[in-house]
């Protein structure tokens, strides 16, 4: 018998979920909580195998709860059950230490499967979740690198163009070129134009 606890601030949803799960012979709902604090209290009372955890809860939300639960002596398997579906959320949920993620509207079959799998193997992820996390690893849009435009400006500075001349050449205002210059120095940890020229030579830009 898998001992399941539910944490969701919406009573109606929680009750609906509990009645769905109680129909199963393999699992039993041993406790319900409407926020993180109540989850911690539940954990102190009795051991829990799988915690179904919502993210959006007042006060102590799902992320806070995961952090706190991880410090407890008997850590249950955490299956996050949320309305959020965007890659940013899924990434952060996995990062925060969830053993699995299931969207709230996935249907009973998938949910029951998720609870059993996370209980027996320690993790559960749908192919969609895996591909989202993989995508975000290989194709991270947020880059700390130098952009083509920035390279262009480094080159022009190294070629001894003044800010005014660069602005004219690139159809930009002096302000914007100045901002680019400051950004480049900041990103490369450099102090002045001389450092920039050194960098450009080192990288083979000029």
């Amino acid at each position: 018998m898998i001992r399941v606890a539910l944490a969701d601030d919406h009573t109606m949803f929680r009750e609906g979920l509990a009645s769905l799960l109680e129909e199963q012979d393999t699992m039993t709902v041993i406790g319900e909580a409407s926020n993180g604090v109540e989850v911690l209290a539940l954990l102190k009372e009795a051991p829990i195998d799988v915690l179904l955890l919502d993210i959006e809860m007042p006060g102590m939300d799902g992320f806070d709860t995961m952090r706190a639960v991880r410090k407890m002596p008997n850590v249950p398997k955490i299956l996050v059950l949320t309305m959020h579906k965007s890659p940013q959320f899924i990434k952060n949920i996995i990062k925060a230490g969830a053993n699995g993620y299931v969207p709230k509207d996935s249907g009973k079959k998938l949910l029951v499967q998720a609870i059993s799998t996370v209980h027996s193997t320690g993790t559960f992820h749908t192919p969609e979740t895996v591909s989202i996390v993989m995508d975000s690893l290989k194709d991270d849009k947020h880059s700390t690198e130098i952009s083509p435009r920035e390279k262009e400006i480094i080159q022009l500075i190294a070629d001894q163009y003044t800010t005014n001349e660069i602005a004219e050449k690139l159809f930009l205002s002096v302000h914007t070129v100045e901002s680019h210059r400051k950004n480049i120095l900041l990103k490369l940890g450099l102090k002045n134009a001389a450092g920039l020229v050194k960098y450009a030579i080192h990288k083979g830009l000029i």
Binding site: F89, D105, T144, S173, T176, L186, K187
Partner: protein, 634 residues
């Protein structure tokens, strides 16, 4: 502050039989007869009579009599008695404001309509109409009352029609169909006058006052209230008199006749205070506050708002509390007490927020939110733009002051001008705070609506979908209807999620600017536009207000690029420097003429950046793409 309170008078007698065929036997003799009753039918009749007698004086014991009657009626075969019992049950639910039960029992009664006499049938339809009215189902209410009218006409029961017509009239008032409302109210008035039903005359005239007010026939409205007061005097109904004075005052105020308005408000105040009609008192004090403010008698105005506020709080009349805060904020603004104005404005926003909080789930609809969001957006921007204009005007004024002081006198006048500039500066600062306060509460409100939509509404939809999915699996996909419903539900969930996201992206609230931008760029994935985000030192969070305004600015820029630029590459730079944040967006699109008058999009961007005390440069040459360079102090 433009709110003037009118009272809608409902002349909906809930206990129609009370006005006629009143059983004249006293309670005691009825009780004695109970012991002597020979059969069930007599018992039921007596129990019913006792229920009616006691229902207003001893609700508890009247309930017992009704229960007895219901139990006994199950044994009897006398249909007309059964009908009477059901009608009594309807009346009981009506008295206790259980409108759904009223409607349920009305249906039962109508099934046995053969056993109901005409008066009982009229009562039944009247109560059905009244229940619909209180449930805000006005069209249904009218339909029910029209049934009553039909039966009254068939049986030539003209007197009862006074009430029926009045009930139809108030339903039309609620529907804001003023012409029909007037017609029915006049019909009711005519009958009331014919049979000298004084209470009816006074109510009907009051309702006509409301109708005339909405038709901008202020003189007619005033005449109606004055005539009503003559009757109320005869009836000794001081409460109605006070309300009528208040309404007359409001009408004169609307006409711009402040002296007469003041006179009638004062009469209302005197009566209400003497008789301690608190609800009328809080309303008239608020109206007085408004009037004094218009007359520039600010001390009196504030005094009256404060008094009204105190009573409204005690009565928990939230809309009156709200309007008093607004009145105080605006009056303090007028006298230049800006910190008090801000304090009251904040209270106003807070209360408004809490009222919205309680009610919004009841009437969340996509359109409403969209409309409100756009309008608020415009309001905030309009305010910020006004502030920009004010600043420009102020800058001009300052220049003038400086020239004068230099030209005329030396040091002494220079000190003077510095003083003036300082005052202007501090006034300007307060104005900024005011705008900030409004913008902050609106952001908070939006965040809350977005979360509730996402979680509460979304959660319920998800649960429904799960249940439907189980059904669908059991059904093995046989039912097309079930499949269609599932699809509709999935689409609706998606729409709710999208609306919630548009209101306030969850990523922005939980993880900050970079995550929110990434999500936006993820959504561009399937388009022609390739987007790249370059960030530096953005791991920590920045001030949430800045995050939100920067994110909205970026959204606006991306929208512009998609709509107009025909670009293939979009680069976004977000760099945190020591004292400022640099957001730069470059595209390789068509570019634009930077000196042409800017559209709504561009002016929104400028207002938001100005609100964050930042600067924006727009570099664009036709055919060479566009770069927006935004600096925000940290």
């Amino acid at each position: 502050m433009r709110v003037v309170f009118f009272f809608l008078l409902c002349f909906a007698l809930l206990f129609p039989s009370a006005t006629r065929s009143q059983d004249l036997r006293p309670v005691d003799s009825l009780r004695n007869e109970l012991a002597l009753a020979e059969n069930d039918d007599q018992l039921v009749a007596l129990q019913l009579a006792l229920f009616k007698k006691l229902s207003r004086i001893h609700p508890d014991s009247s309930q017992l009599h009704l229960k007895q009657a219901v139990l006994l009626s199950k044994r009897t075969e006398n249909d007309s008695l059964v009908g009477k019992v059901i009608v009594a049950q309807i009346q009981d639910h009506m008295l206790n404001n259980r409108y759904d039960s009223v409607l349920h029992y009305v249906e039962l009664a109508l099934q046995k309509r053969g056993s109901l006499g005409p008066q009982q049938l009229i009562d039944t339809y009247t109560m059905q109409g009244t229940a619909h009215f209180y449930k805000s189902e006005y069209a249904k209410a009218i339909a029910s009352h029209l049934q009553s009218e039909k039966i009254s006409s068939a049986h030539e029961m003209e007197q009862g029609k006074a009430q029926v017509f009045n009930n139809i009239g108030i339903a039309y008032i609620k529907l804001e169909d003023w012409y029909n409302a007037e017609e029915y109210m006049n019909k009711s008035l005519e009958i009331c006058k014919k049979y000298d039903i004084k209470r009816g005359i006074s109510y009907t005239l009051g309702n006509l006052g409301i109708i005339y007010k909405h038709l901008d026939r202020y003189q007619d409205a005033i005449a109606a209230y004055l005539e009503s007061n003559v009757i109320c005097e005869e009836l000794g109904d001081q409460r109605a008199i006070a309300r009528n004075y208040n309404n007359i005052g409001a009408l004169y105020e609307k006409e711009g006749n402040y002296d007469l308005a003041l006179e009638y408000y004062t009469r209302c105040f005197n009566t209400s205070e003497a008789e301690q009609y608190e609800s009328t008192l809080t309303s008239v004090l608020h109206n007085l506050g408004n009037l004094y403010s218009k007359q520039k008698r600010y001390t009196l105005s504030i005094d009256n708002f404060e008094k009204s506020l105190e009573i409204a709080k005690a009565l928990d009349y939230r809309d009156v509390v709200l309007n008093n805060y607004l009145g105080l904020a605006e009056t303090y603004e007028k006298i230049g007490a800006l910190s008090k104005a801000i304090a009251h404005r904040k209270l106003y926003e807070k209360w408004k927020d809490s009222i919205v909080n309680e009610e919004h789930l009841k009437n969340v609809s996509e359109l409403e939110i969209k409309y409100a969001t756009e309008k608020k957006e415009k309001d905030i921007l309009a305010l910020s733009q006004q502030k920009l204009k004010d600043e420009a005007a102020m800058a001009k004024q300052n220049l003038k002051i400086r020239r004068l002081s230099l030209g005329l006198l030396g040091a002494i006048l220079l000190f003077g001008s510095i003083f003036v500039i300082f005052r202007q500066y501090s006034k300007n600062r307060k104005q900024k705070e005011l705008i900030g306060a409004i913008a902050d509460t609106q952001i908070a409100e939006r965040k809350r609506i977005s979360q509730d939509l996402h979680d509460s509404v979304g959660g319920s939809l998800a649960l429904t979908k799960n249940k439907l999915l189980s059904l669908y699996e059991k059904d093995q996909g046989k039912s097309k209807e079930l499949e269609d419903s599932l699809q509709t539900l999935t689409r609706t969930s998606e729409q709710v999620r999208q609306i919630s996201h548009n209101l306030m992206p969850g990523e922005l609230v939980k993880f900050g600017l970079v995550s929110a931008i990434q999500t936006t760029l993820d959504q561009l994935q399937d388009t022609e536009l390739k987007a790249q985000l370059y960030v530096h030192d953005m791991e920590g969070r920045i001030d949430p207000t800045k995050e939100i305004h920067l994110f909205r600015t970026l959204q606006e820029i991306i929208q512009n690029v998609i709509k107009h630029a025909k670009a293939s590459q979009l680069n976004i730079y977000l760099n945190r420097h020591r004292k400022h944040l640099n957001l730069m967006v470059e595209d390789d699109g068509l570019g634009m003429e930077t000196d042409t008058p800017s559209g709504m999009g561009l002016s929104n961007i400028k207002s938001r950046v100005a609100f964050l005390k930042g600067t924006v440069d727009i570099d664009s040459v036709l055919g060479k793409g566009t770069t927006m360079n935004i600096l925000i102090p940290l």
